[in-house]
Symmetry: C3
Subunit: 237 residues, 3 copies
């Protein structure tokens, strides 16, 4: 995983690897789907899959001083991201053709799939980032924030690269479940009850909260009621 | 402040903490104000307050190899940024209502407040970044550039996140006073006359120069005279 | 070059410095040209020259844990970037006037010059990043990716700062030659045949492949045929 000697048990280390692989794969799918919908070529798709899948973990490792980050040194994770990119690239044309011949299969399905994947990745990375931070000796505040950055970093960099205001800023509750999940892991560690089951439970909780927020179109409160989608007008001065 | 053992005196270390708290707070106010004006929800406001207030210091710490950066590990600084976000979020609606009922209280005031805060933060962070770099043994070039990056980094990341071309590139003299202030700190250190008073003086100088530049609408020279505001057309080819 | 003790021979170390200076200078030219075409003032031009010329190497050093990065600590490289910025700033007005009086001298020339410079920088930085990564003991995967990031990082940050979708995502083959060049350096090192001549050959190969791709308007395959330039519509949902 990296150059830092970790102090947690073998079970948690294994769990972290599995969570990492799952999170990288689903986030990379979301990056690749965005890329093909923007008409990017094969390597643009692979770049965006890499950024979405491994960007959050790379920020996490830089913040924790773990160099080189897993995103440029762990062959298993890089392979997972590239496989997700190739999969989307290969199947997207077929899917689009199918959708055209059968207009009842709606675009919205792909969009929905991206959101579910995103929610799973959010939970997995929030928990995983916090676990890793604790394993290298970070304090509770650092572990919570690093968990949050791990979870939202890949999607944020993905959106910045295609010139889109990051979803974390403009959409239904996003950062809140991520920080909550990371905070629960830190709390469990503090109480001495952190186990694989607890970690998986926290990841699942984040995913469910996020999916409910998407389904109900929940948002955190705003300072002023705004109508319709946010438009990002030029700043008035 | 972080894991690196600093070598400066206790007085300068205390000054650096105070400067950091002030700079984080005022930059976080600027981020939060931008966020509420864009209609972001509570957590979008807090994220932007964190990025504007702590982004520059986080870049500084990454460049100096100080991990985890203060922005994710120092509870005092994180609290200052979040308090600024909550303050703006809570008071903005009331302010807007007031402004509507009393049209003579103009929008421009809030815009002006942001600029003054920004100028204060610019001076504080430029000096503080240079002081910290010197304290961890960096050379004069590194200390000057790191001071500049500390000062402009938060605003730059803030602007990138909301899809706005960074002010540092398109506005009145911005990077110049920051780099000058950092350079003066380095010079004072080289001459052996660096004290708390000198450091505060440098920060004040940067702030004043920046405010004068804003007031007079001063700009650095351009290669070609352009009319009106920069429009960022598609690159012609 | 930095705080890490390098293990390669003196010849390769000298070569890396020369390659670095050339790459920084040509990439900084590309950043400065973009800046003057956008109407930025002198310091905006210098900032963009610094970002384009030294951004890729700074990302490289952060990924390899080399702090402070050469981009904020190596006076020779910083000087090369600023000189390129001043050169473009000083000559651009004269060039533009000349172009106006002689309309047969077309805009396209400057655009072409930027592309050639970009191709040279791409080859130089891909090879140089891989060489440095190997010199500090990185594995083959890390050295290849770090070489690629070194090559495309500066242009990517440059484009993000002016609100332009990065060329690496939307243009003819870009990441592919960079990663191939870095990979060839890694392969040569593995086979024990890495020498200055081989390194220069790899850099030249990347440049030629890139120029051919630009000339023939080659692109990597796309999942769906799209017509005309990519338009980046709002994501449909």
């Amino acid at each position: 995983m990296g150059p830092v000697e970790l102090t947690d048990s073998g079970t948690l280390a294994t769990l972290r690897l599995v969570l990492d692989l799952v999170g990288v794969f689903v986030f990379a799918l979301s990056g690749a789907l965005l890329a093909v919908r923007r008409g990017l070529d094969l390597f643009g798709v692979l770049v965006l899959a890499w950024v979405a899948g491994l960007g959050g973990g790379t920020l996490r490792d830089l913040l924790l001083g773990r160099t080189p980050p897993a995103g440029v040194s762990d062959g298993r994770l890089v392979t997972a991201a590239l496989l997700a990119g190739l999969l989307v690239f290969g199947l997207y044309g077929a899917y689009r053709d199918l959708a055209r011949r059968h207009p009842d299969v709606r675009w919205g399905r792909a969009s929905y799939a991206v959101r579910v994947l995103d929610a799973v990745g959010l939970g997995v990375f929030a928990v995983n980032g916090a676990l890793l931070a604790l394993a290298v000796g970070a304090g509770p505040l650092t572990a919570t924030i690093v968990g949050g950055v791990t979870a939202i970093g890949g999607g944020l960099l993905r959106d910045l690269l295609v010139g889109q205001v990051p979803e974390v800023l403009r959409r239904e509750l996003y950062a809140v479940p991520a920080l909550t999940g990371a905070g629960l892991v830190v709390l469990a560690d503090h109480l001495g009850v952190l186990s694989s089951a607890v970690a998986v439970g926290c990841a699942g909780l984040v995913t469910v909260v996020r999916l409910v927020a998407v389904g109900l179109d929940l948002n955190a409160p705003r300072a002023l009621r705004t109508e319709g989608p946010i438009r990002w007008p030029r700043r008035e001065e």
